[in-house]
Structures are given as structure tokens and as C-alpha cells.
């Protein structure tokens, strides 16, 4: 790494204090300036940049944004900056591949090219969602882990300790319960016959996340440490605690940052630029080996609106074309619609197709965008869908993907604000948790057939 982690901490204390509002407004103004300077324009008629020239300009603009503004440290209210040479060296020093998992479940997560034939790594499971009890969490997680299209699974949370006591972030209950859920995950993947499978889990606070690492019962060095960059281009010491531990313990670091359409990134063009800058922050400040390059929208509770697909897809493509980094797209991981609905499958497919075609893996898991505290709000079939779409899309060209994305957008984009809620696991699966009910299986098969007819070649048909 070009700039040692301890130098990052030093910089977080060395520069003058800046008010957060001042930084936010500077970010907004700069993203607006950069889109003019680099001629970046979002055309809703073209949800994918099929040529790549625009993506290159988004990358250049994002790089300039990061160099110009730096990262805002909310703990010290100071800005952490890099020189162009330091950033170049940070990007060059990152690995082109990391290996995760153990034994025959070990996978290599490498830099992917745009339209690359290399299958993306898929980390599925119902990401960070609540489960009603241990048995239900075990059953659902085992079902997700059994799928051959899935390389790893995410953990969730049991809402009550002993069915009685609240789990509260930042309190001892958080450490206890997140450890407990990780133990359940480990039992679930063993029961699925994949004991070396990658596990992702992430508690709200760094102390509880660090406490998850336990080679016997918890997360292992062969899994991953999740670090988060706050929107937009911000970091707190609690995030940096995770990096400090991961560097000392020797576990790959996976970062996540999302810019926000309607937020301080402004329009979709600004969000694409800030998504690149946020990814560079994860590399340079938080020392991520791989990272999620994401875009949210302050008005829409989904990640796959037309503008989001364009912004995230263009940012991912820009990074993939200009740096040999390991990118996570995961755009389809948070549909507005709930499990058991056609719309969920359409939304998820659109996001995962764009992620894969543009050169990314997908490690964000599956879940409805808003689950509230409703437990068991997801099933293994969404994990299968994520895996099937991601693996099936490998090798697809942007030109092939574009009509497919337009077809999918036509199916759901006017329903994002009033999406069907879907059902919980209990209503969608048999009591043993092994098979979906026939009506859900039918929807799945029909949507799969629709995509197959439009050129998506699923893995089971390729083999």
C-alpha cells in the first residue's frame, strides 16, 4: 500500500477542521462542474453505456473528485487527501485477485473485465435481515448454501436473545447475538455439505463485527471483513477500526460505498462520478481489497431504477476499464418488491445483469429493500435467482444486455414506488424449508423462460 494506514489516521487529524455541510455542498458543486468538464450526460433512452467512452470519462471525473475533495472524516471533522501519485500507487498496489473460503469451497475472486467470460463470485443469503428463531435461520441459510450457483452466504440477525431480550447495537447484546448468528451460519453451511463456504456478516458497530472473527465458530481469515464508506465520501473511526483489525488479523477487506441520486451527488451523472470517487476512497483510505461500487436514490426504495442502473453500471464499467481492481456490483440486491413476486425477480435480474456485464462480482446478498422488523422475509429461491442470473450473464456483451434491460425496466419501473410486498418464508416454502411452493416455483420458471427467450444463457444450459 502506497500510503500506510497509520498515515491515513495521521492525516485525519492533521488538516484544518471543515464543517460537514460545507464539505457536502462542495461535493455537490464539484460533481456538477465535473460532469460539464467531462461532457457526461445521462440519456434515459440508453440505460447502458455500450461503448465505454462515457464510462472512461466518468472514471476520470470520479478520480478528479476524489483527489480534489478527499474523504471527510466525521470523527475528526477533517479531510483526508491524497496526491495523484499516491492514488495511482494505491490502485496499482491492490491485488488483482483474492482467494476466499476453504477446501473445495474455496473460490478466487479476481478482477473482471467488461463483458468478461469469467463467472462472478456470488455471495447470496438474506443479507442482514431479521430471523424469528434459530431453527428458522438455520433452515433458510442451509437452503441458500445448498445452491450450486452460490459461492457464499450472508448472515442476518435474530431479533431476541432467548426469544425474550432485545438486541441493541452498541450494547453487549449486539456482540453476543451476532456471534450466535454466525455460529448458526457455520452450522448451516456444514449441513449443506459446504463447510468451507465463504461467510459474510457485518454488525452495526466495529466492536461487534471484530468479535465475529473466530476460526472455529465465527468468521475466518478465509472470509472477509466488511468496511463501509458513508455517503458520500465519508468515513468514521468506527469504520477505520474494522480496517485496523483486518490488517492485523490478515483477512481480506471488502468495502461498500453508495452515492445517492437526489442526495449531495445530485443527478444521476453526479451519482456515477461520486460512485467512482467512493470506490477509490475504499481502496485508498480503508485499504479494501474488493469493493462495492453502489448508487442509491433518495426517493426510491430499490437500487434498480433506470437512472440507478445507468449510474452504477457506468461507474463500474469505468473502473473495470481503467484499473485492475476487484469490483462488486450487486445492483440487484435490494428490490422494492418482496419475495414470491414476479417483480422481485425482474428487478433483481436487471441489477445483476448490469453488474456482471459491466465487470463486477455480486456479493450483496438478496433481500427486499425494506424489511422492517418482519422476520424471515426471504427464501433460498432468491439466492438461486441471484446465482443463476449472475453466472448466466458471464460473457454477455453490453449490446446483448441492453434490450434485455429495457425489457425488464418495462416490466417494473413504473411500479417501484408501489411495489408488491410479497410474502415471508413461511408462506413460500414447505415446512422443512427444502422446496418452494408450486405457485412460487411456477413464477420463477416463467420469468427464467422469459429471460432465456431474450438471450440469457443460464449455467445449467451451458453445461
Amino acid at each position: 500500500m502506497a500510503v500506510p494506514f497509520w498515515e491515513i489516521l495521521n492525516r485525519s487529524k492533521a488538516s484544518p477542521i471543515v464543517e460537514e455541510k460545507e464539505y457536502d455542498l462542495a461535493l455537490f458543486k464539484k460533481t456538477q462542474e465535473l460532469q460539464k468538464k467531462f461532457g457526461i450526460r445521462y440519456d434515459p433512452a440508453k440505460p447502458l453505456d455500450v461503448e465505454g467512452d462515457l464510462a472512461d470519462r466518468v472514471y476520470a471525473a470520479g478520480r478528479e473528485l476524489f483527489l480534489d475533495l478527499g474523504t471527510y472524516c466525521t470523527t475528526t471533522r477533517r479531510v483526508i487527501k491524497f496526491s495523484a501519485e499516491e492514488l495511482r500507487m494505491e490502485v496499482q498496489s491492490r491485488p488483482e485477485a483474492v482467494e476466499m473460503g476453504q477446501g473445495r469451497d474455496r473460490v478466487r475472486m479476481a478482477h473482471r473485465e467488461v463483458e468478461g467470460r469469467q463467472e462472478p463470485v456470488v455471495i447470496a443469503g438474506i443479507q442482514t435481515a431479521p430471523f424469528s428463531d434459530e431453527e428458522m435461520m438455520f433452515k433458510i441459510s442451509r437452503g441458500c448454501a445448498m445452491d450450486g450457483c452460490v459461492d457464499g452466504i450472508w448472515g442476518g440477525i435474530l431479533l431476541k436473545i432467548d426469544g425474550k431480550y432485545d438486541v441493541v447495537a452498541g450494547s453487549p447484546s449486539e456482540i453476543y447475538q451476532y456471534r450466535k448468528t454466525t455460529e448458526i451460519l457455520r452450522r448451516a453451511i456444514a449441513a449443506a455439505g459446504r463447510p468451507g463456504m465463504i461467510l459474510f456478516n457485518n454488525a452495526p458497530t466495529s466492536i461487534a463485527t471484530i468479535a465475529l472473527f473466530d476460526e472455529e465458530k465465527g468468521l475466518r481469515r478465509s472470509d472477509s471483513m466488511e468496511v463501509t464508506g458513508m455517503s458520500e465520501l465519508k468515513v468514521a473511526y468506527d469504520d477505520l477500526n474494522r480496517t485496523a483489525f483486518a490488517l492485523a488479523y490478515g483477512v481480506p477487506i471488502h468495502g461498500a460505498h453508495s452515492s445517492t441520486i437526489g442526495g449531495f451527488s445530485g443527478n444521476p451523472e453526479g451519482a456515477a462520478i461520486a460512485a467512482v470517487a467512493g470506490s477509490l476512497q475504499l481502496i485508498a483510505v480503508q485499504k479494501a481489497d474488493s469493493f462495492r461500487c453502489g448508487v442509491t436514490d433518495s426517493r426510491i426504495k430499490s437500487r434498480v431504477s433506470r437512472a440507478q442502473l445507468w449510474a452504477a453500471g457506468t461507474a463500474i464499467q469505468g473502473i473495470s476499464r481503467n484499473a485492475r481492481l476487484i469490483i462488486d456490483g450487486s445492483i440487484g440486491d435490494h428490490p422494492a418488491a418482496g419475495p414470491g413476486t414476479r417483480q422481485y425477480l425482474y428487478e433483481a435480474a436487471a441489477g445483476f445483469i448490469v453488474s456482471t456485464v459491466m465487470g463486477a462480482h455480486s456479493t450483496g446478498g438478496t433481500r427486499k429493500f425494506v424489511v422492517g422488523n418482519v422476520p424471515n422475509y426471504g427464501t433460498p429461491l432468491e439466492s438461486r435467482w441471484m446465482g443463476e442470473v449472475c453466472k448466466g450473464t458471464a460473457g454477455m456483451s453490453r449490446a446483448q444486455a441492453e434490450p434485455l434491460i429495457k425489457y425488464l425496466l418495462d416490466k417494473y419501473e413504473d411500479k417501484l414506488k408501489d411495489a408488491p410486498a410479497g410474502e415471508t418464508f413461511e408462506k413460500l416454502y414447505d415446512p422443512e424449508g427444502m422446496e418452494p411452493i408450486p405457485s412460487y416455483r411456477k413464477i420463477y420458471d416463467e420469468v427464467k423462460a422469459e429471460l432465456r427467450e431474450r438471450g440469457l444463457s443460464f449455467r445449467d444450459e451451458k453445461e
Partner: protein, 220 residues
């Protein structure tokens, strides 16, 4: 009203102030506010009409994607500036005190986007807002609410494991004998109206714009 200021001219002046705010033209807005004063128009009319209408229009433009959160922040700053010019010319006993809201994302939760949005929309909606940021402990929220003599505490939580901190603030207020002094409104991704009722909150906002209406209702 100045002898020369006809109802038509008054309407034009008040509209020009509104438009200047919506267009975030600081110089033009300041100038229009000064003209309102020199024309002898009751500055309270400019506050209740020009600023309120501007806030509503900006909210609509944000909702349909024409404006972004940064614009709302800038509009909020401009409204404060224009209000100050107008309020200087209102006798202190006739000044309508702004309702004060302290807002924070609760302890253990660093999600800021939704809270920031509610904060700026409340400000644009005419409230005096004190934004304490993210990951703020209950005692700190209550302390600040006491210091600024807040009317309401607004609490955001994006995680199921931080929702109990919303309840904690209400419980702490009760145990400190302060519950009746502050209204409490809650919101955030996993939070529902049912949960708000369950923990004894006074209000709930599904999104930023509902939060403004809810705050007005609760503080009416």
C-alpha cells in the same frame, strides 16, 4: 402599506421574493426582501406567503427530481437570511416564534442520508432545526433539546438493532420527568407507525415530506 404600493404591486413583490428563493438567487432574494420593507408591506405577509409558498414549491421540485438535497440546504440557508431581514422589521411582541426541533440518528447507527433529508425539509418547512448528526446517545439528544428549548425531538434509525434506542430516548425522558416537555417523532427504514405507537412516540414520518406534515400536526 406605502401609498404607492397597490395590491397588484404588493402581489408582484411577494411573488418575486418567492421566485428568487425557489431559484436560489441569493442577491435577488435579499433585494426583494428589502423592497418588501421599503414598500411598507407587512413583513409577516412575506413570511407567511413568499417563504411558505417557496418552501412548498421547492419540496415539490425535490419530490419529482428537479432539485436535490444540496438545493434544499441552500434554500434553507437563504430562507434563514431572508427571514432575518424581514424579522428585523417586525416588533418583537409580534414575532411568531419558530417551532424548534432537535434531530439525530440514534446511537449505534451511522446512516445519515434519510436523517439529512428530513432535517433540510423540516427547515425548509419553517422549523428551526438542530441537527446533531449520527450515532448520538440518548442523554446527548435530551441535553441539547433542553439547551435549545426544543418543542420536538426527531429520531432516525435505519437498523432493527438501533430501533430500541428510539424507545430509550422516550424512556429516558419519562424517567427524567421531561416527557411532557418534548414531543417525539420517529422514522427510518425499518420503523413503522405501529412501532411508533408501541413505544409511545407522538409522531411518525414514513418519508421526509410526511415528517414535515406530521411535525406540523403534532405541534399544532
Amino acid at each position: 402599506m406605502d401609498q404607492a404600493t397597490t395590491p397588484q404591486a404588493e402581489k408582484e413583490l411577494l411573488d418575486s421574493l418567492k421566485v428568487a428563493i425557489v431559484e436560489i438567487d441569493n442577491e435577488r432574494a435579499r433585494e426583494a426582501a428589502r423592497k418588501v420593507i421599503t414598500a411598507g408591506i407587512d413583513p409577516r405577509k412575506a413570511i407567511s406567503y413568499s417563504i411558505k409558498e417557496a418552501a412548498d414549491e421547492v419540496g415539490k421540485k425535490f419530490d419529482c427530481g428537479d432539485l436535490f438535497i444540496a438545493h434544499l440546504v441552500m434554500v434553507g440557508d437563504l430562507m434563514d437570511e431572508v427571514s432575518a431581514i424581514l424579522e428585523e422589521n417586525i416588533p418583537s411582541d409580534q414575532l411568531t416564534k419558530k417551532r424548534i426541533i432537535v434531530i439525530a440518528t440514534v446511537q449505534g447507527d451511522v446512516h445519515s442520508v434519510g436523517k439529512n433529508l428530513v432535517s433540510v425539509v423540516l427547515r425548509a418547512g419553517g422549523f428551526e432545526v438542530h441537527d446533531l448528526g449520527v450515532d448520538v446517545p440518548s442523554f446527548q439528544i435530551i441535553q441539547r433539546a433542553k439547551e435549545v428549548k426544543a418543542d420536538m425531538i426527531a429520531l432516525s434509525s435505519l437498523l432493527t438493532t438501533t430501533m430500541p434506542y428510539q424507545k430509550e430516548v422516550i424512556e429516558d425522558l419519562t424517567s427524567m420527568g421531561l416527557r411532557s416537555r418534548f414531543k417525539v417523532m420517529i422514522g427510518g427504514g425499518p420503523v413503522t407507525r405501529e412501532y411508533a405507537v408501541q413505544i409511545g412516540a407522538d409522531g411518525y414520518g414514513k418519508d421526509a415530506f410526511e415528517a414535515v406534515e406530521e411535525a406540523k400536526r403534532v405541534l399544532a
